[in-house]
Amino acid sequence: MIAFLESLSRLPGVEFVLLISHDGVPIAHARGCSESAYEESLAALTSQWLNDLRHHVAPLGWHPPERAFLRGARGTLVLRSSESACLVVVLGREAAPEDVRLSMDSVLARIERARHGRSQVAPGTCTPAGMPEPAPAIPSGHDGVATEESLQPDPHHGHSPSN
């Protein structure tokens, strides 16, 4: 996960990247050009702001914002929220929130995919609903059964190499 954040922190103008849970607990962080370590306070203040925004927009019947930014004279705070976590990026004065829009979306999507992959995809390649994974459109050497090196010994009926 830190590797995902580090790719974002290497973008020009990015000072700090932080992934927090919705209740404000820091999950992971990566430092860009910033020297200071302030992930705890940043996580607390950011989640408080996000909660405030949720409360403020609720009377209008709006869903919580998916993306928000706060642009100040000395930097910008950008938030991108997903169902499980919130990605926070602190930008320097010279960078604009639009500069990191795509990168943040892709990093958060990768984080979500990684999370779903770990928790939901079983070794028997079954989806959570119990349906078998559809066959890929193009056979590859990694996940197809047609290649010799991908054949695994059957633990019940076959012979193990040591036998």
């Binding site: 203040l45 409360h55 009377p59 209008l60 709006w62 642009r71």
Partner: protein, 368 residues
């Protein structure tokens, strides 16, 4: 080439002057100012802008052009000072350079130059100017950290310039503005010891002495300023105001665009709303004001400086808010905001317009 340009510019300026004489409109004032600026006659360009602004005080384009010409003049002087400093660095040049930067609100550049100046030696004047920079930053941000830094820098300047009233006065203003009356009274007493018998200082001392009892400490006063975002005595801050008409024209222009759901201008507890009506308008205005308050507080706590844009995106569309010092413009649209609208919105903040008696005004804060 320059000679040719100058000859050609004479003709263009003459034509622009004739057009202005025939029709003294903001557009013609702007055209003549631009021609003067192109001919490198910045003083004339500024004079025309001032004349135009006297006739049309609410014209935003003229006001912006005037600021641009002033900025370009400042930049030219700064470049001269940098050249001069490279050959023969001396205190008056450093001081002028830093004062220009402070007055033009380029605090980071001013701080960098002051640090370069201080690296050449321990100059008391540089310490005083550094105190002014940090003070200006505190007045803009209103954060505790900035307040403490400003206080420390002013104390250093006072220690180095014990008989100079300027750092003492800056400290007195700072303490008065944050509401630390007891410390302000002590500072006024120190000012009087430097300049005894000054009537204005004696008056201030008496006022502060009357308020000193039960006054908060500096740290408590700074905390209160950070929390509320307001300096002492700023509750009814009345600055120069433009009329409600110019803001309403802008709001109407926004509201005519197809994907705009609401356009708002918020000042104090009053909001001008174009788009939604009745209870929805009131709820929207209340939401914008709440978002504004919590975002300003978050910005101060995070040390982001003065907040000048807040944007939320979601299934509801895009809500963009451009806060000024006392007011804010907001736009709710179903699609992306776009560059043009963003610039217009940022221009709306800081107009400081009158909102009373307007037909589209709602008072979402009225019952609080």
């Amino acid at each position: 080439m320059k000679f040719l340009d100058r000859i050609l510019s004479y003709g263009r300026i003459r034509r622009a002057r004739r057009a202005l004489a025939a029709d003294p409109s903001p557009r013609n004032y702007l055209a003549l100012a631009q021609q003067y600026a192109l001919a490198d006659r910045r003083a004339d360009a500024q004079r025309i802008c001032v004349e135009g602004l006297e006739a049309f005080p609410e014209n935003i384009q003229l006001a912006r052009y005037y600021q641009r010409t002033r900025r370009s003049e400042r930049e030219a002087r700064l470049a001269e000072l940098h050249r001069e400093l490279a050959f023969s660095p001396r205190a008056p040049l450093w001081r002028e350079l830093c004062e220009i930067l402070i007055e033009s609100d380029e605090l980071t550049r001013a701080e960098e130059e002051l640090n370069r100046w201080l690296a050449t030696g321990d100059h008391p004047e540089a310490h005083y100017l550094l105190g002014r920079v940090l003070l200006a930053r505190f007045y803009a941000d209103r954060g505790r950290t900035q307040g403490r830094a400003a206080m420390a820098a002013l104390d250093q300047a006072i220690a180095r310039l014990p008989n100079d009233l300027r750092p003492l006065r800056a400290k007195l203003d700072f303490l008065t503005k944050i509401g630390a009356w007891q410390d302000a009274r002590d500072c006024a007493a120190r000012c009087l010891s430097v300049e005894p018998g000054t009537l204005e200082l004696e008056g201030r001392y008496r006022t502060l002495a009357a308020r000193a009892e039960g006054a908060p400490s500096i740290e408590r006063a700074l905390f209160e300023v950070e929390r509320s975002g307001r300096l002492a005595g700023e509750e009814g801050g009345e600055g120069v105001r433009t009329s409600a008409g110019s803001v309403q024209a802008l709001l109407r222009e926004f509201a005519t665009q197809p994907d705009v759901q609401a356009a708002l201008y918020v000042r104090g507890s009053t909001a001008l709303v174009q788009g939604p009506k009745g209870a929805t308008a009131e709820r929207t205005a209340r939401t914008v004001q709440s978002i504004l308050a919590s975002s300003r507080s978050t910005g101060r706590r995070l040390g982001l400086g003065q907040v000048f844009q807040i944007q939320l995106e979601g299934s509801f569309g895009t809500l963009s808010i451009a806060p000024g010092e006392q007011d804010a413009g907001a736009l709710l649209c179903s699609g992306p905001l776009g560059r043009g609208r963003e610039e217009m919105l940022l221009g709306m903040a800081g107009l400081n317009a009158a909102t009373a008696g307007s037909e589209t005004a709602v008072h979402p804060g009225g019952d609080q």
